[in-house]
Symmetry: C3
């Protein structure tokens, strides 16, 4: 994101502080500038704590009284509210002020880089290979043969197993664990407590015990994947577990062994995907969805929150419910069920009369 | 809790060991003392391993035979079982012995304080401010500008981002991560592996990729909140994520960006709350509940286990089911459904005859 | 697992590299050897990247064309595909090639032992007792009075509370936390981020607040239990939380206070088991199952994925659904519901006519 916005005059002080003028904001958001185009802001804030160097927004009349109390630098506002008393010297009128503001955020903020270098307390094994401008934090442990690409940042307490390769410009937040057998592409972000490449859940019952199946497959996370806090992704048993480029995974998600996830998917929090399942490109799995093992979810499919997917889902379809069905069917079933409750007595009476 | 019980004669040796007499226990539990009031106990134990310095309980006749094998110091017992052969010298008769025992626990135990001081391996950044009687464990990392209130205990391997403020008398268990932008009140307990203030899950699709929305809001955890192991609470995007005072959160819970949770809520394990949702004061969300984004749950509402909440829930109501409805409706629907399965053939026949 | 296979000629170089001949593989898998019995392999690989020192498998004709591109050392193949063009010099014909291969894995791989010894950065409290051949990784913290059995391996960043006992031949992966009050048997595996023995979720409302119930019970993990990444298991309140021998627990599972789980259970990912519930021996709980508090699940019961268990489940039965019922009833109810949606209009018309 750090290159974004250069075409519209973002000023970067070189110390990570950027500013935008009201005119820049109008251009970036496609909005209509009213008032002083030269007012300059350096941060985004909610209206209730916005000051003169902040850009903020007003989207409902409910919060309009706050304008009298605050003096934001620039206000993004809907056409309907543009004439609210108390608006500041620089106003940008847009249909959706919040969305416009979210679009402006990357122009004002870039991820803090911090200094590069290897903290004296980091422990590096034999044959570790580090790219340029790498930052390795306190108490990081990199086992033998780990490779780290240029510009990658590894925060405090991260532990990386032997032979793991990490691409360029990645960011591993504190306390991430990469087991041996993991491979990360470039620009991968793994939030605190992520566990990648652990043994999958596989046993064969024999001799009165669940015998553990050794896991020797890899866990491959491709470019531009982001992984939320405390999410777990297991390595493959024989073949690999793979997460496709540009896929974004939320917190506390579980991805089992041998799963293949395509590119540009959105996997929301607490989703669980069982072993050997395949998820196509551009799929959306909403929060707490569970997917059984050996299932195929086609490209572009969308699965509603908490759905339980026990069979294949065709490409492009939206499914929901437990067990999951096409969303329209699930809605009809749900509506019918609640109607049924009210009809039950009459139905029972009718059947009794007839029989 | 450490001040509790001083009015009823708890004796604290100064080394964390406290004792109670049978008379103290009767007073504290509102029970009827039978036998020797002077018997003194120092611990609570289940009957099957209770000894002469333990207080224990008997609530069902099923475990009565154990009395012959054990000699507990004090027995809490129901009226019906008070005459069971083998009861010890000191008996306290109460209607609900287990509840009474749980009420006595805080009088015998207080959280171990451990020594205060900063472990030599802790790494403190520039401008870190520590209150009095702070305990900082091995390998803790406090980034620049962190402030820690009096009496707070930070266990091994905790990592705290730049500028985070932590109130007084907090306890951060091992391997907690507080991202920059987090603010903790006083007496907050965060169990092992908690992640507070990570970036929320927010992207805007553009240029063929999910573009990450920078997160610049805060994550505010107010006084007396307890957070279970491996729970994740994201920071706000522009505005803040807030957890109200006295709310208790269980293990493996996910709380999304911009969520506002009121005071004194109970959020049980594996609950997921999506972005920008508001939960009122005094709400109870049972295990594995999922709440969609931008939902309002009114004060005092209760949500049954595994419910999927996709719309607003009025204050004071109890909802359950998937999708969640008022609990009574859900029960009726569920009952109707299972009746329906048994009626289906007859209904189909009836319709076929009529048409 | 490391002793497995000694009867069939596994060759161990002493550096953790083992090899098997085609004849060994035929014997181990009960398959029929065709071709050269002396070909020797040292690794398992999927067909698409198998080479001359790998054993691989072919189970469907879909991947048969890959044979022409690869030259695996030994191929496990179904009878129907045994004559596929391009099979290598050594073929073993078995009914289920993948299962056969999984059975061979433990003969080729054993968990890497790594060197024993205590890393110089590990911090050991007073009275810590270590067995023979123990490996303690970087930045491990063992509090006072911890005991560790022979051959146990404790990876980087593990934190173990005062008085915890850990049996022989255990493996604690990075960043595990064992709270004070935990007891581990032998051969226990705890994956990265596991939290054992944290306070359970228990409060009594009083004086306008949720008063925390101190937890003084233990958390006992018996022999041969494996626990997946980021799973949390709370200690008991007064009595203990117990996981029976040989039970295997997947990632991100939550087990509440006072829960008792029997032997040889399979608890799959994201399952949540509420306080004081009892699970018998040999039970299977599939992914995302939720079990309410104080429930009894009988020996050998199986619970389908995402089921919500709010009452007792008899031994040996298979239950599913929300709320959970016997699996056959749940299937019938689900089928009836989707039929109902299509019948609703006709039913309403029928009732209207009759009344």
């Amino acid at each position: 994101m750090s290159g974004a916005g250069s075409d519209i005059g973002t000023t970067d002080s070189g110390e990570g502080v950027r500013t935008l003028t009201a005119a820049d904001i109008a251009t970036a958001s496609g909005g209509e500038l009213r008032g002083d185009p030269t007012v300059r802001v350096g941060a985004v804030a909610p209206l209730h704590r916005a000051g003169g160097t902040d850009v903020t927004f007003l989207a409902t009349s409910r919060y309009a009284p706050l304008l009298a109390e605050r003096s934001p630098g620039v206000l993004l506002v809907t056409p309907a509210l543009a004439m609210t008393p108390g608006t500041p010297r620089s106003v940008v009128v847009v249909d959706k002020p919040l969305e416009a503001l979210l679009g402006i955020l990357p122009r004002l903020y870039h991820a803090p880089r911090g200094p590069s270098g290897i903290h004296t307390t980091a422990r590096l094994g034999r044959g570790v290979s580090l790219g340029r401008d790498v930052a390795i934090g306190p108490y990081v442990v990199l086992d033998d043969g780990v490779t780290v690409g240029d510009g990658t940042r590894i925060d405090a307490h991260v532990v990386v197993g032997a032979g793991v390769s990490i691409g360029a410009s990645c960011h591993l937040f504190p306390s991430v664990t990469l087991y041996s057998g993991s491979q990360l592409g470039s620009r991968v972000i793994a939030h605190a407590g992520v566990r990648i490449g652990g043994d999958g859940y596989g046993y064969v019952f024999g001799n009165g015990a669940h015998q553990k199946i050794p896991h020797v497959g890899r866990c491959i996370i491709n470019d531009d994947v982001e992984i939320g806090a405390n999410t777990t992704i297991d390595r493959g048993s024989i073949d690999d577990t793979v997460v496709g480029a540009g896929t974004k995974i939320d917190n506390l998600v579980q991805i089992g062994h041998n799963v293949r996830i395509g590119t540009l998917c959105l996997i929301m929090s607490q989703v669980g995907i069982s072993g050997s399942t395949r998820v196509g490109d551009g799929c959306i799995l909403a929060g707490q969805v569970g997917v059984g093992g050996h299932v195929e979810i086609g490209d572009g499919a969308r699965i509603g929150g908490q759905a339980g997917v026990f069979g294949d889902v065709p490409a492009g379809e939206t499914w929901s419910g437990y067990p999951a069905r096409p969303h329209r069917e699930s809605l009809r079933a749900s509506a019918a069920l609640f109607k049924l409750a009210g009809m039950m007595k009459r139905l029972e009476r009718l059947l009794a009369e007839r029989e």
